[in-house]
Symmetry: C2
Subunit: 463 residues, 2 copies
C-alpha cells in the first residue's frame, strides 16, 4: 500500500473518507488504557499531527503502548472522518510496525523548553512546534524569493564565497587558508608568505556578492544573488550571526526609485506567499510567538511604503520630543531606536529613508548632485528596523576612482570593478536583504540564533 | 514611455506590430554608411539581440555612428515587423540617448576568443554568447531544482558553511580563522591555541551538508540542501574546483531504490525544464559547443535509467575486452573511463550502479546483509561519468558507532549524529549532486571553470 503524507490527509480530507491508508512518522505523544490507546503521529510533511487509535486487537499492542515518544512507526488503518470532533479525522490502526525505537531519556519530553536550551540540541529542535514552523517558513520564504525574481526573468548568480576582495572596504573578515598554522611558511622579512597559500594569496570569506552581481547585471540586466555571507564581528547580540544568507538583486538601467519599487514588491510578495503557503505556521506564530503578527504583516501588505529623505527623517526625529539613547544629528547614522521610532511611531508602516550623508555610506554609492549625500536607501520595518539596504551605484568611472583613492583603498584590487564603468558603464542600482532578518520579520522570532538551522556566533560552531 | 525588454519583443512579437517602443541595452555590433546605420542591441533579458536601424535624421547621428561596441544606449522607435526577413523584426530609431560610452580597447571585439582568455576577463565574459547561455542556463537549472523539490513539499535547509566536523572523514579542508597569522597565540606546548580563535576552536569550510540534512530529514521527512561546498584538493583538472555548489536531498523512511527513483525524476525534470525555458541557449550549445547535445539529453529523457550492481558492473567491464588504463577488479573504485564505458557503450543511457564494496565508500552508508557491500549508488551519465552519488544511511546506532571507531574517527565529534539514531532512528536515504557537473551535462561545456561565474581553483581567486 502506498504511504500517504499527513499533509495530504489535511489538504484533501474528503478523498480519504472510509479509505484504508498507510502513514509513517514519529510519535509526538502516546497514552493508553487497558485495551486501547492514542498516538499523536507527526510525519514531518505538515505542521499538524494525526491521531492514531489503536487497541489490543493488535498483536503487538503492549509493545506499542510502551514506546517512548519520538519512536518511529508505520501505521495501516482506516481513515475515519470525524467532522464534529476537535480533530477532523483519525486513523484506526489495523497494523503498526515499529521502524525505530527511541529512548526514555529523549530530551524533548512534553514540557516547555527555553529557546536557549533548545539551541544546545539544534539537531533535535526542528521536531518541536516552534522550530518546525520556523524552518518550514524559512524554506517557503526562500522559494518565494527565487520565484519572485525568476518570474521576472532575473538571472540567479552564484557569487563566490572565497574572495580576495573586501566589498565594503570595511568589516572584519574570516581568513581562509590551507597553510599549516603550526608550521607557517615565512618570507625573507619573517612575515607569513601568503604566496604559498592555496590560492597563491590571502583570501577571505565574502561579506557580500554585490560586486560580482554588478558585473553580471551589466550583461544580463536583471540579476540576483542568494547565498551565504560572513562577518567576523565579535558581537554577541540577538541580531548578529557570523554566517547568514543575503539576497542581493542588481538591476541595470535602474535608478534609486526603481529598486525601491522592486524592494517593496519583493517584501510584499514574500509576505503574501508565506501567508498563503504556511497558514498553520503563521497562525501558530501569531498565537504563541508574537500576538498581532498577522495584523502587522497585513498592514505592511496593504500599505504604500513611506518614503522620506534622511534629512527629513532627522528633522522628524528632532521634532518628536522623544528621548533617545543616541543623539540625533545630521551626519550621524540612524540607530535601531531611531529606525524603529520612524516606522513604528511616525509612519506606522514600512518606510524608505533615502539620500544619506556620503560619509556614513559605502564607497560604491552614487554621489548626489548636492555633493553631500548619496543615492542610498534603507527600508525600515516595524519590529526590526533596517530590513533592506540599497543604492544606486556610482557608474561614473572617474568619480568612483577618486572615491577609492580618497578612502585609501587599494585601487589595484578594483581593476575589474572599474572596468565595468569603462566599458559601457550604465546606470544601475541594487539592494541587499539579510535573509534572517526577513525571517524574523515574518515570524516574530527575536533571536537570529533561532531562525538559522545551525547558527554560527562568537564561540559557537557546534554541529 | 515604458521600457520594453527584448525578450518580450521575441516572445510576444505580434502585440508590438506598428507600435512605438523603447528599449535600452548594449551595442553588440554597429555599422554605418553615410546616411544610415545598423546596431545589434542586446539588453541582457534574452539570448538574441534586436536590430536597430538609425539614420541621419537623428541629430546625434554622427555621435551614435562612432560609438564603440559595448556602449549602452536608450532607443525610442517604431517596431517594424519583417516576417520575410532573416530577423523577424527591427526597430527604426526616432531617438537614441547615450547612456554610457565604452572604449575602443574593449576586449571583446568581434572575433573568436579562447575560453582560457575569457577566464581572465570573467567580469566581462557573460556578455559573450557562450557565457550568456551558460549562466542563464545555470540560473534556470537552479530554479528547476528548487521547483522540483518544493512542489513535492521538500523543506530547503541552509546547512552551515563553517563547520567543526568533517563529514566524509576524509578530504582536504580549508581552515577558517580570525587568528593573526603573523602573531599566533600559542599554548604551553608551543602549538597554536585554537581556543583563542573566533569560534573557540578550529573550524573549516564544509565539504557537504549531508549530516545537517539528516537531522532535518528526521524532523521534516523530505528535505534538501543547495549551497556551496569546498575541497582544498590541489587538483588542477577540468572537473575540479575548490568551491562548487551541491544539491543534497535527504528522505526519511526511504530505502535505496526510493532515492534512485527520486534522482532519476530530478535529472529528467531539470532537463525538461531547461529545454522548455532556454530553447535558444540549448540550440546554441547543440550547434556550437557539442553537436548531438539535444539528442543526448532527449535520449536520457526518454530512457528508463539502467540499474546494475557494482559486482555485475565489474563483470561487464571485465568481459568487455576493452583496454582500460586502470585495472578492473572487484574491490577497486570505478574510474571515469570505466564509468563512461558503462553508460556510453554498454547501456547507452544513464545507469545507476549500486552496492559498492564497503571499503571504498563513506562511513555513514548502510551495511548490506552480505557484510561486504553498502547500500550506495552512483548515477553514471554519458559524457560525464558520475553525476549523482547517494546511499541509504546507516540508521542502526551500534553499527554506525562501531564503524566510526573502526575508522579511528573522533567519536565525540559525532555525538549528535549518533543521537539521531538513538532517538527514533529511522530508515533514511539521500544523494548529492555536484551542480557544476549537472550544468556541464546540460550544456556540453567541458571545463568546470567555464560554468562557474568566478571559479576558485589552486592558485586562482581572482575577482
Amino acid at each position: 500500500m502506498k504511504v500517504t503524507l499527513i499533509k495530504d490527509l489535511y489538504r484533501n480530507t474528503e478523498s480519504f473518507i472510509d479509505q484504508k491508508v498507510q502513514v509513517s512518522g514519529w510519535i509526538r505523544t502516546i497514552r493508553d488504557s487497558k485495551a486501547f490507546g492514542f498516538i499523536e503521529l507527526n510525519d514531518g510533511s505538515f505542521f499538524k499531527s494525526v491521531q492514531i487509535v489503536f487497541d489490543d486487537k493488535l498483536e503487538n499492542f503492549k509493545e506499542i503502548a510502551k514506546l517512548p515518544i519520538s519512536s518511529s512507526i508505520k501505521v495501516e488503518g482506516d481513515f475515519i472522518y470525524t467532522p464534529q470532533a476537535k480533530q477532523p479525522f483519525e486513523i484506526r490502526a489495523t497494523n503498526i510496525v515499529i521502524e525505530g525505537t527511541s529512548n526514555v531519556d529523549y530530551p524533548l519530553q512534553k514540557k516547555r523548553h527555553t529557546f536557549e536550551y533548545l539551541r544546545t540540541i539544534a539537531h533535535l529542535r526542528p521536531r518541536t512546534n516552534t522550530f518546525s514552523a520556523v524552518f518550514r517558513v524559512r524554506s517557503i520564504a526562500s522559494y518565494a524569493i527565487h520565484k519572485f525574481f525568476q518570474d521576472q526573468g532575473f538571472v540567479y548568480v552564484h557569487s563566490p564565497i572565497i574572495t580576495g576582495s573586501d566589498t565594503e572596504g570595511a568589516g572584519e573578515m574570516f581568513r581562509v587558508t590551507t597553510l599549516d598554522l603550526n608550521n607557517l611558511p615565512k618570507d625573507e622579512n619573517g612575515n607569513v608568505d601568503n604566496s604559498k597559500d592555496f590560492f597563491g594569496r590571502d583570501t577571505n570569506l565574502t561579506v557580500s556578492g554585490q560586486l560580482s552581481a554588478e558585473a553580471f547585471a551589466l550583461a544580463f540586466r536583471n540579476v540576483y544573488t542568494f547565498g551565504p555571507t560572513f562577518r567576523a564581528e565579535n558581537s554577541n547580540t540577538a541580531r548578529h550571526a557570523a554566517e547568514f544568507w543575503m539576497i542581493e538583486p542588481e538591476v541595470a538601467f535602474a535608478e534609486l526609485p526603481d529598486i525601491m519599487d522592486l524592494a517593496e514588491k519583493m517584501v510584499k510578495y514574500v509576505i503574501s506567499y508565506v501567508l498563503e503557503h504556511a497558514p498553520e505556521e503563521m497562525n501558530f506564530f501569531n498565537n504563541f510567538i508574537e500576538k498581532g503578527l498577522l495584523d502587522r504583516l497585513n498592514n505592511a501588505l496593504n500599505a504604500e511604503f513611506g518614503r522620506v529623505t534622511y534629512t527629513e527623517a532627522i528633522e522628524l526625529l528632532q521634532k518628536s520630543g522623544e528621548k533617545f539613547t543616541y543623539p540625533v544629528e545630521w551626519g550621524a547614522d540612524l540607530q535601531t531606536e531611531h529606525e524603529r521610532y520612524l516606522c513604528e511611531k511616525v509612519f506606522k508602516k514600512p518606510v524608505f529613508v533615502t539620500d544619506y550623508p556620503k560619509e556614513i555610506k559605502a564607497f560604491y554609492m552614487r554621489l548626489n548632485d548636492d555633493n553631500k549625500t548619496v543615492a542610498a536607501t534603507d527600508l525600515l520595518v516595524p519590529g526590526i528596523g533596517e530590513l533592506v539596504g540599497g543604492s544606486q551605484r556610482e557608474e561614473r568611472e572617474e568619480v568612483l576612482a577618486d572615491k577609492i583613492k580618497e578612502l585609501g583603498m587599494n585601487e589595484a584590487d578594483y581593476w575589474w570593478y572599474l572596468e565595468l564603468r569603462k566599458y559601457g558603464g550604465t546606470k544601475h542600482s541594487g539592494f541587499g536583504v539579510g535573509f534572517e532578518r526577513l525571517i524574523m520579520y515574518l515570524t516574530g522570532m527575536t533571536n537570529i540564533r533561532d531562525v538559522i538551522p545551525f547558527p554560527r556566533t562568537p564561540g559557537n560552531a557546534e554541529f
